[in-house]
């Protein structure tokens, strides 16, 4: 290290060699400011001005007094708290079963949770319409056939607040599961062993050792689940509007309909932003305190709790849980693909290929939407990964002064919900000097901003395991920082880089809440197309496109698992 410093400090060298790290820093920092600061700036500006451009607090006053804003606010609070509670109640025990017990088929369970994780929530919502609409829902039909109930009777009604909470929880619980399972994977079994050696019963060990150790992860999971439920757009738009109520996200979106009220939309976005920032601070506080739980890192496989005959009971319970986000919805979508009427079970009488034919040969928006989605997925994944590599390198190697600020900027977008970012970008890029509305660029900016924190965190943890000595050797031998990064560090990180790329790709396919604010007819993406089709009730076509989306997504995920030296182990950390 000393030698490196001596070499780079030599005046003779520094006059002849250009170190690109400084210009790159400036560019990256400027790009991050542009991505985050500019749209949020316009958001605040709009929220504080009336249509004529004069300063006003009237927008916020209306927000605080008008029942058409207060009702969605209350609904959203109930929705987010209940979803988070359900997620924790279900996912934390599941995480424990998978990480710490001898329950059978643990890997399969992890894979299925992964499947619910990558399923677009709006697709899940449409599938649950098919399953649990009070009259036409497949589950209610089975119920009536089985019990001989009246045609008006139903078991489930998905068009209700509890229905919406349930569907959101179905696609949010993986966040809690992954955090809890990962934490339990890492907590050394020694502490539990010590407890039982000292005479603690299984119950005492659980209550006094395991649960306290896992608690920070559960709470962090609850916060993430809360934020997800609060900022989700697709599921409420699909399930809440028919039931006659709004959430904050659908309300914001409705303010964009004709006649648009952009000032109010901006003002209504800010509470979501404020809550997100506050909760993320709380989360980092909680996770910061978790330090003790990972002391010593991973020390061999933790001792697994023997469940005895309860093994299969536990597995059955897990399976029942996984019916909801995976098996039932996928089944309903597949049924709708081939059924003449989406809400009827496929039989020889009503089997049809019409939906497939319609999507591929008649629907003229299909080709363009798939093309746009593919372009955006690929370019977002590439740009996002490259930016994340550069930033993670600078922060993890402390390559420059201000590296902390850089890390902060790269993580900051996590606090901006998709729909808020959508509103901000819309306000920023529909006016001079940057009129990007109507181009794929505005969607690219939105998606890169959304995925950057995730990509950065992935790669930063990857950098930590690469020994800096090798890089220093390269630098001593005369390579520049950039050369070292390209020729030495990047190849060592190859698997992480590829995996990050793939996960961004998958994440962009399912993005709806920013896209819905920013698309135009020429820049429509698949998620928006599905949303459009839902509004006109073309469920058969949605099923076909949805199944294709899922197939592509799973193909990418399976590919990641096949990367040599990567596999399931890292996948858990995603």
């Amino acid at each position: 290290m000393n030698l490196t410093l001596a070499v780079s400090a030599s005046p003779a060298r520094s006059t002849f060699r250009i170190d690109w790290s400084r210009p790159i820093l400036v560019v990256v920092a400027a790009a991050l400011c542009l991505l985050v600061v500019l749209p949020l700036g316009w958001l605040v500006y709009y929220s504080l001005h009336d249509r004529a451009g004069g300063f006003t607090l009237a927008n916020f006053a209306q927000l605080a007094t008008d029942p058409t804003f207060l009702d969605p606010l209350v609904t959203t609070a109930i929705l987010a708290i209940s979803s988070a509670a359900i997620c924790c109640a279900v996912a934390a025990p599941m995480g424990w079963l998978v990480a710490r017990t001898d329950m059978p088929l643990r890997k399969t369970v992890r894979a299925l949770v992964m499947a619910s994780f990558v399923t677009p929530p709006f697709l899940g919502a449409v599938a649950w319409e098919l399953l649990a609409a009070p009259n036409s829902g497949l589950l209610n039909k089975i119920f009536r056939a089985a019990t001989g109930a009246e045609p008006d009777d139903y078991l489930f009604n998905i068009y209700t607040l509890p229905g919406l909470i349930f569907v959101i929880a179905c696609y949010t619980f993986p966040y809690v599961f992954v955090l809890v399972a990962n934490a339990l994977d890492r907590i050394p079994g020694d502490l539990e062993d010590a407890s039982s050696i000292l005479g603690g019963s299984a119950w005492t060990t659980a209550v006094r050792v395991t649960i306290p150790l896992a608690m920070p992860a559960v709470l962090a999971g609850a916060l993430i689940a809360f934020l997800q439920a609060m900022t989700l757009f697709g599921s409420p738009a699909i399930l809440a509007l028919p039931a006659g109520f709004h959430t904050m996200t659908t309300k914001i979106w409705s303010l964009f309909q004709y006649p648009p009220k952009l000032e109010l939309a901006a003002a209504a976005s800010l509470p979501l932003l404020a809550v997100t920032v506050a909760l993320l601070r709380a989360e980092s506080f909680l996770l910061g305190r978790r330090g003790y739980s990972v002391v010593g890192g991973r020390q061999g496989d933790p001792r697994r709790v023997r469940l005895g005959p309860w093994r299969w009971v536990a597995f059955a319970a897990t399976f029942v849980v996984l019916l909801n986000p995976v098996f039932l919805p996928y089944g309903a979508l597949l049924n709708a693909v081939f059924s003449h009427v989406p809400s009827e079970f496929v039989s020889f009488d009503n089997l049809t290929l019409h939906n497939i034919k319609f999507v591929f040969f008649e629907l003229s928006a299909t080709g363009l939407a798939f093309k746009n989605t593919l372009i955006l997925c690929t370019s977002t994944a590439t740009i996002g990964t490259v930016m994340a590599v550069v930033i993670a390198y600078m922060t993890s190697r402390k390559a420059i002064a201000w590296h902390r600020a850089l890390g902060f900027l790269a993580t900051a977008p996590v606090a901006v919900p998709g729909i808020v970012l959508g509103v901000g970008l819309f306000l920023t890029y529909t006016r001079p000097p940057f009129v990007l509305y109507g181009t794929l660029w505005i969607l690219l900016i939105a998606f890169v901003t959304i995925v950057l924190p995730f990509a950065y965190q992935q790669l930063q943890s990857a950098f930590r395991v690469v020994n800096p000595d090798i890089e220093e050797a390269s630098r001593i031998l005369g390579a520049t920082r950039l050369g070292t990064l390209i020729h030495i560090t990047a190849p060592l990180l190859r698997t992480s880089v590829i995996a990050t790329w793939c996960f961004i790709f998958v994440g962009v396919i399912r993005e709806l809440s920013a896209a819905i604010m920013l698309f135009t007819s020429e820049t429509k993406v698949i998620s928006v197309l599905i949303f459009d089709l839902n509004e006109s009730g073309d469920l058969g076509a949605i099923a076909v496109i949805g199944i294709i989306m899922l197939v592509v997504t799973f193909a990418v995920v399976v590919l990641v698992n096949r990367i040599p030296g990567y596999g399931g182990e890292r996948l858990r950390n995603a």
Partner: protein
């Protein structure tokens, strides 16, 4: 079915009047000469290779129209951009405000949009030969900016498996019976031009009072006017309070258990014009497409899809109640243009979404 009944005030008169009000200048260009489809036009359109059609017509029928055009003029692809009329309007407005000229031909089930587009000088004047020859004067803009491409009714409907014909509602007032609570599906005027137009006509003729009572019936609120018929066919709801007659016809004719009802108070009539944009990116393909839309061939396609046509040579489909036998509510695009925003706001207040 050339004459649509004298009682009905047509959008054309209404919008013409509004335009006169805006363009106070005494100089008015004479209506443009009708244009026939020439080999030159076809050639020029083929060079452009595509046409972008923004429409609020139900997607499968829109795509059928597109395929028919592509079959007749190979080499010119039609891209259908379908969403609710109010969204189409918002989209066009937003795109033009950002200087994006993506749309060639537009169709909206909220005829008042054409008043605005014409007033803002966004439309191009173009009169297809069929329009000049076979369309009643009251269904064409006097300056040739648009003409009534299609028409339909917003009807009540019911699922015949869930409701016996004798129990079915006969009027809007019948829908307020407590026995329909939780069984009604209804579309939204903030999305659908059909429902926007219908809501205006109904609030004028039977009053907002009706909507306030209807809102207490735990109505399932969907967006598109095409969706209530589909929800009926699914069996999700027994009755629809409004929705497209043509989609109901399509579903019925493909075996769906649905039946339209023409309410005794009158049925809202919805006329949907087609127009060309001045700044159309594919101006020749746009003209060719517009001409095709008004041809007997295309109008027959619309009729087969359950639509109503104003083309003098086209007859209603056998089995569909002739438009002249329907007690239709009077259309008034100018009034919709004037009160549109209030209607939406009032509706949202009553139905909460």
């Amino acid at each position: 079915m050339g004459g649509v009944g004298v009682s009905r005030r047509t959008i054309l008169k209404a919008s013409g009047a509004a335009a006169v009000g805006v363009f106070a200048s005494p100089i008015r260009a004479a209506a443009p000469e009708p244009a026939s489809i020439t080999p030159d036009l076809i050639e020029a359109a083929k060079k452009e290779g595509k046409v972008i059609y923004y429409t609020s017509m139900d997607l499968p029928l829109s795509e059928r129209l597109a395929k028919a055009f592509e079959a007749k003029y190979p080499g010119i692809a039609v891209r259908v951009e379908r969403t609710g009329a109010e969204r189409v309007f918002q989209r066009v407005g937003q795109e033009y405000a950002s200087n994006i000229h993506a749309v060639d031909v537009v169709n909206s089930s909220d005829a008042s949009h054409f008043i605005v587009w014409k007033r803002d000088s966004l439309l191009a004047s173009f009169v297809p030969e069929d329009v000049a020859k076979y369309y009643p004067v009251e269904q064409r803009d006097r300056d040739g900016m648009f003409a009534a491409f299609r028409a339909s009714l917003s009807v009540i409907g019911y699922n015949t498996r869930l409701v016996k014909p004798e129990d079915a509602p006969k009027s809007f007032a019948d829908l307020l019976d407590p026995k329909w609570a939780g069984k009604i599906v209804k579309a939204h005027p903030g999305y659908s031009g059909t429902i926007m137009t219908a809501t205006y006509e109904m609030s004028r003729d039977i009053g907002w009072d009706y909507f306030e009572k209807l809102a207490k019936q735990r109505v399932m609120q969907v967006q598109s006017a095409s969706d209530p018929p589909k929800k009926l066919a699914l069996g999700e709801r027994s009755v629809m309070a409004d929705g497209n007659e043509y989609v109901l016809f399509q579903l019925k004719e493909s075996g769906g258990a649905v039946e339209p009802v023409y309410p005794t108070e009158g049925t809202p009539l919805i006329v949907s014009p087609n127009g060309l944009f001045k700044a159309a990116p594919n101006p020749n393909a746009a003209r060719l497409f517009q001409s095709f839309c008004f041809s007997p061939e295309c109008q027959q396609l619309m009729i087969d899809g359950g639509m109503r046509s104003f083309h003098g040579q086209i007859k209603d489909k056998p089995g569909h109640r002739p438009l002249d036998d329907v007690k239709a509510m009077k259309e008034d695009a100018a009034a919709v243009e004037q009160h549109g925003d209030e209607i939406k706001a009032h509706y949202v207040k009553i139905f909460r979404v």
